[in-house]
Amino acid sequence: MKGLFIKDLKLVATQKKFIFLAIVLSVFITLTGDDPTFTVTYIVLLLSMLTLNTISYDEMNGGMLFLLSLPVDRKMYVKEKYMFCFMNLVVAALASLLFSLGFIAFKNSEIEFTTVASSIAGVTLGMALMFGVTIPLVFKFGMEKGRIAMIVCILGIIGCGVGGYKVIADVLNIDISSFIVELLSKLPKPGEGLEIVVVLAMLLAMMLVLGISYIVSLRIMKKKEL
């Protein structure tokens, strides 16, 4: 497992010039304005895409054949990939949080930290969901076809969501919005522990999405012939 981690870090490091330039550019854009949201979401997005790219690098030129001929089995490979994704998301989210704290302090920005933090939470969770859907698809169809399958899948999820909402609201006659408002009113207020609830809920949601996705990926990889 350690070797696979090192390999992924080395693969991400091959893009270091690009990462550096992208971050410098986005920080520069942010410093000219008053809102760090752009940069922080950008950092999370960028690191997430780099993580996903490591799968396509692994598949290039018979790379998977090579990796699986080393002391690595399919389960270990899948497990490492998910851990690497999760770890990168956490690092990206923490880096973004630190950056926004620094930005607010440095620029005496009037922007609320919680606003930026919720953007980070949103994009991190979004990326976790994206990983959850994309990784099994990439394992199944490869990077190129996997991207198309991902779009189809996301549209399908949205379709199911909208359809499900319609069914619950119209057919079963349940008022979902008032249910959500009621649920939210039961949560603690900002400054009284809401942040902890949000962070915990987010971590839980991420782990749930990635956990289900991991099980699906493992089944795909165990059957895949190379």
Partner: protein, 283 residues
């Protein structure tokens, strides 16, 4: 026994592999055959990269399904199609292997790279074909493996490098606990290295002999049509029609030398064997 395949079957459309092979400790076993004969399918089955429909594979005395990553530390592999990601450099490869193999020696790896002219700082994608082939072999031999599985390790290497590689393999075999399964298009590589040779054609093992026997007892008979009619054919294993008459492969060269002094007989080579068993009609 380091490796044992028993009636391993795998089919792709009309192609069907049905293969039994053994690699013993202290032995170098060769697998030869023409393109598409089933060599790579055999190697992939051994490594669990594809799933045979039936048959048994045992490695280090364990069923393949029970082989753990820790067991695989005793395995060194070169596959024609398999490559380390080409964005990486040799100096990136070292820490990756260090993280995977307990017995990997970084110093030795760097020393070998230096000896074989592998640049440490260049991305692998900028390597020549020969350099890539050399790096693959160096990686396979970097961690004191007990069994080497080498599919065409000499492909892309010039004659000097091929000889160096074969020397490396001979040196590796000085430890009696080790073994090698190797395939190569260049039959002379195998003639000087292997203890025994399996020949595969259309997915089936058609010959398994000790290399000494292959080279001393197998031969090619060049006979005219008239001679062909009169000779005893019980030791002819394959024949092919030619302009002058027939080319016949025998596994009892001496029998024909003694009984048919007028027949032209050539010493067999692995190349002849491949041609005769692939192109010739089997008896």
């Amino acid at each position: 026994m380091l490796l044992k395949l028993e009636n391993v079957r795998k089919s792709y459309g009309t192609f069907e592999l049905d293969c039994s092979i053994e690699v013993k400790k202290g032995q170098v076993t060769g697998l030869v055959g023409s393109n598409g004969a089933g060599k790579s399918t055999t190697f992939k089955s051994i490594l669990g990269l594809i799933f045979p429909e039936s048959g048994n594979i045992e490695m280090f005395g364990k069923k393949l399904s029970d082989i753990t990553p820790a067991d695989k530390e005793n395995l060194g592999v070169v596959l024609t199609e398999a490559n380390m990601c080409e964005l990486l450099r040799a100096k990136d490869v070292a820490p990756i292997l260090k993280g995977m193999y307990k017995k990997f020696s970084t110093d030795e790896f760097y020393q070998r790279c230096k000896n074989y002219g592998i640049p440490l700082d260049k991305p692998i994608k900028e390597f020549s074909t020969g350099m890539k082939a050399k790096l693959k072999v160096i990686i396979a031999m970097s961690h004191d493996a007990k069994l080497l599985i080498l599919d065409e390790p000499t492909a892309g290497l010039d004659v000097i490098m091929r000889n160096e590689l074969l020397d490396m393999l001979r040196e590796y075999m000085e430890d009696e606990e080790r073994g090698i399964l190797i395939s190569s298009h260049i039959a002379t590589d195998l003639e000087g290295l292997c203890d025994d040779i399996y020949m595969i054609s259309k997915g089936k093992i058609v010959i398994h002999e000790d290399t000494d026997v292959l080279l001393s007892e197998y031969g090619l008979l060049k006979v005219t049509k008239e001679q062909y009619e009169t000779i005893d054919k019980q030791y002819i294993i394959s024949e092919k029609e030619e302009r002058f008459g027939y080319l016949c492969l025998t596994n009892q060269k001496d029998f024909y030398q003694e009984n048919y002094p007028n027949v032209a007989i050539e010493k067999g080579s692995i190349d002849d064997l491949i041609i005769m068993m692939t192109k010739g009609g089997k008896r």
